[in-house]
Subunit: 176 residues, 2 copies
């Protein structure tokens, strides 16, 4: 494959043991779609920006996402029975930043939100969302993996998704 891949790396003689800096550096280069998880455990709306959403199982329809156990969001996710996964489009970088910011009311304007029939908050600007039932919470180091069953979905329109990569938000190029 030398003709196809002229820029092959030299294979490492000595890989590095992993440090926090190295770990972060490797994952800076790993792109991910961006969602906001919203929830209300009976103490008002809570939510956070996540790049860990994964499509897990088709039958039953399950997704997973991760939450830091030391985050302000975790007690809400721990205690709630349902949540909404709000997908973000390329135009929603401000919303992603608002739901990652500390010390502010993330649901204050310019955030626009309402409640679904079960009380779960949903972002009005999300081009697609899933209402999920929170089924499993798995301890993994300083985070929790949440497994959730998709019960309802809404897809408004085709959208260019928001991607997080290299510490920044990006849009994928338009469809050719």
């Amino acid at each position: 494959m030398t003709d196809l891949l002229p820029d092959l790396p030299t294979f490492p003689a000595r890989p590095a043991p992993v440090s926090a800096d190295r770990f972060r550096e490797v994952f800076r280069r790993h792109p991910a779609g961006v969602v906001v998880i919203t929830v209300d455990a009976g103490r008002g709306p809570a939510g956070f920006t996540a790049t860990s959403l994964t499509s897990l199982s088709l039958d039953p329809p399950l997704v997973s996402f991760a939450v830091s156990a030391t985050s302000s969001s975790w007690p809400h996710v721990r205690d709630a029975s349902t949540a909404v996964v709000n997908f973000l489009g390329a135009e929603h970088e401000l919303l992603a930043r608002q739901f990652a910011a500390r010390g502010i009311d993330r649901f204050a304007p310019p955030t626009r939100w309402r409640r679904l029939a079960d009380g779960a908050p949903v972002l009005e600007e999300a081009p697609a969302w899933l209402r999920v039932r929170l089924e499993q919470r798995v301890t993994a180091g300083d985070h929790r993996i949440v497994v959730a069953r998709v019960e309802e979905s809404w897809l408004a329109r085709s959208h260019r998704p928001l991607v997080h990569h290299d510490g920044r938000y990006h849009a994928l190029p338009p469809r050719p």
Copy 2:
């Protein structure tokens, strides 16, 4: 925010219950970085393309990925104690397809691979990789979530990552 977001969707009066088609449709629009997980449980090298890799915990350094319980890879991942997460660059679409294809020897040429000191297979073309210890396997519907501790890492060079989105492989635009 009407001035910033002129193209707001109409809010749904009646969201759809989730079907397999709808579930797939929503996740087609959710982009993800692409890796190949390689493993050897004592029965020869095995590996598969994954878009589920998530950076989970910094202390200890943990990642997670998902495997279909009905896939040919699952018995290998179930029985192995270590694995390698091979990150793919924008030039590695063929490699991603080879490790997603059925009924072929995925380690046959053009794949180039070798073994690490502990015997785990690694792809020589990967611009970065992590050697991980497989610590937890969590049942979630028809898939298993694997939680793995990062023990060693290698980062050859800055690379444009491969992204999976809308049923195709893409490259992110070059850094501005």
